[in-house]
Symmetry: C2
Subunit: 407 residues, 2 copies
């Protein structure tokens, strides 16, 4: 596996008070690497989550959705190498059995155990391996660090992905730390995206959920690698409260805005790491849209551009093919007026008022496209709607990876 | 340019009474091939059309939309190598000038001239070349055959595409003949899809429009190469009436059903030829969906499967990866119940009731996928909605073609 040319180094990460980690090898595939990760959380830890909008979700996703309204978590367990999705009654049985076995080991209600699985679709998680894996990870509690855990949740990832942000809540410093795996929120079916955020802040569960939902809309839900939505995408946030701040109870609580900003910052960093590991990616592309009817329209137009195979192959080839951007705006299904449209690559205005700008010089655009970070900005010229999304280019690497992944 | 492995031979095509063809080289690109095609139509010819749903259409598309309600055509002119799209006032001026010059040459109202242009976006059609090209094609009237015309409307096509169907209206034999260019209805921005149908039948314009709209919904609008919708897609149908049948005036006219069936047959043949020339295509994929809430839901699910890069790369690799089909059903946004879903590849039932079938044998599926025509059938298990769409696989060829098309 070649490491993505867009990879970033793994950051230095401290322990988060209230979180203990253990990893183990259940052997879901014929490998010796750890593939079960266990995160035990202090009593009282708040939990929030967002899950895939797929209508064919995995049983782990269904369990998360069922348990999230309780608002409290004692453990997170993650299986890598097998997504347990589309496995019928057998899949549901093993997902439930694994979380109940862990609840027994920890002496907590099963409804406080959250789980996620990632990997091949259609093969039930092997029952014996799943239970033995949990027992081994439990026995190893306290021996694993964040890097080990991040490696253990990965599948086709080419580098381990994590980020950290600090914030002040009143006089209390709190830490928000996240790990993530996958090659897209809208992603390959086996490299489904999982993201986990841990903080020592004290945050009431309903507020944590509100803030996570808002952050995800502008970060995880604003990235795309290949327009394909997985059956298992899950982002969970855990707040142990060990930092000792006065619990954030509402958006009006002192420090809530700072925490929300830090959470969005963290989620954006994690989301961009996923794009940086997009299958076959060689360029990170930022698509900004302004002047649409409203923010939702701007998001739809931005996603139409970011999901266009023709735009993505043009960027891969270093081709300032703004005609393909026009095409993607036109097919987005949102109100647009060809004769008010303007397009920038980097800082260069390429087209305005429905035509290429007079005396357009492609040289600075070609120089911008030769780099590994490309910015496309479109102004629709109609309203105040804005959005920003991120994607990567579409290369031979994507085809090579996906034309024979399963074998 | 390598000819698509899915190419079909060009059929033997007769003249259509009431249609005279001339082609010429305007030199829209530095080439010597003909790139202007002129089809002069007998007085009284009925016309109908469907155009791209892009909100950034070319001026030629706008002219067609403006003129179609008139219902009568005397000429069709097609420019290849330059789409004239997103060219502002200059583009509108040259499109109008070209059709008005042709109207002068023919002595007919400009509103009876229909035009289409295909090629690079963003460069106005050169005014002098456009007018000289029309004059040359007019001077060449009667010297070109269907093959010459089909070659002259092509851009990145790897083979010329045409089809023919005959029908009986009462005792009168009529011929429907179509030519098409492009690599997808939902297509590369420069190899935009154009399709033209010519018949000697007499059909009232409103009925011709109704029948073309219905046929296109099940044929041209049911194909996808890469999910990208062009700014110039246009299908026009011309009925000269030279066959002498009693004019078809409504769906209740004797022979109208036979003509509609022939028109749909012809459009499907033309649409499939476009998929067969899909950029990089090595396999023709038929996706059938049954059991959805309604036909529209079934179409949306089928398109979600047909547009999934992961499904298309799996087929390219000969991988019976039905998990990716589950993923695509799940992301389609239509009602689905994971536990009622069944999936077939070819004639083999792979998954049913939310899980792989007991004793599933991949061997017959692998054999099916090794061929160049692949069938994926999904039953949602909820209702009576049905749809069928066509696409091709996604290969290294697509990346190679599109990562440096413009240069």
């Amino acid at each position: 596996m070649t490491i993505s040319p867009l990879a970033l180094p793994f950051p230095a990460l401290p322990a988060i008070a209230g979180v203990t980690i253990g990893t183990a090898c259940a052997g879901y595939k014929p490998w010796t690497r750890d593939d079960v990760s266990l995160f035990v959380l202090a009593p009282g830890t708040a939990v929030a989550g967002v899950t895939t909008r797929s209508l064919c979700p995995s049983p782990e996703v269904e369990l998360c959705r069922f348990r999230l309204p309780g608002g409290r978590a004692r453990a997170l367990l993650v299986n890598a190498g097998n997504s347990n999705a589309f496995t019928g009654a057998a899949g549901r049985t093993v997902a439930l059995a694994q979380s109940e076995r862990l609840a027994d080991l920890l002496g907590c209600p099963a409804d406080m155990v959250f789980s996620a699985s990632t990997g091949v679709i259609g093969v039930p998680l092997p029952h014996d391996k799943a239970l033995a894996g949990i027992a081994a990870a439990h026995a190893a509690l306290g021996t694993a660090d964040w890097l080990a855990a991040t490696m253990a949740i990965g599948t086709t990832d080419t580098f381990p992905k994590a980020a950290i942000v600090k914030a002040m809540i009143g006089d209390t410093a709190v830490t928000l730390l996240g790990i993530v795996k996958g090659s897209g929120m809208i992603a390959p079916d086996m490299a489904t995206m999982l993201g986990f955020v841990f903080t020592d802040a004290a945050v009431a569960p309903p507020l944590l959920q509100q803030m996570l939902t808002e952050s995800a809309a502008r970060t995880f839900n604003a990235i795309t690698v290949d327009s394909d939505t997985s059956t298992s995408d899950t982002v969970l946030a855990f707040a142990t409260g060990a930092a000792g701040n006065t619990e954030l109870a509402s958006r009006d609580s002192a420090g809530a805005d700072a925490f929300a900003a830090a959470l969005t910052d963290l989620c954006r960093q994690l989301a961009l790491l996923v794009v940086r590991d997009g299958e076959g990616a060689t360029k990170l592309i930022t698509v900004s849209v302004a002047g649409a009817d409203d923010d939702a329209a701007a998001h739809a137009i931005a996603m139409s551009i970011a999901n266009s195979p023709l735009v993505k192959t043009a960027i891969a080839g270093g081709d300032a093919n703004w005609g393909r951007v026009v095409m993607a705006v036109g097919k987005a299904g949102q109100r647009a007026d060809r004769d008010r449209l303007s397009i920038r690559f980097g800082t260069t205005l390429v087209a305005a008022d429905g035509a290429v700008v007079p005396g357009y010089d492609e040289a600075p655009v070609a120089a911008h496209l030769a780099g590994d970070q490309v910015e496309i900005a479109v102004d629709i010229g109609l309203g105040e709607g804005r959005a920003r999304v991120w994607t990567c280019d579409l290369t031979h690497g994507y085809i090579s990876i996906n034309a024979d992944y399963r074998s």
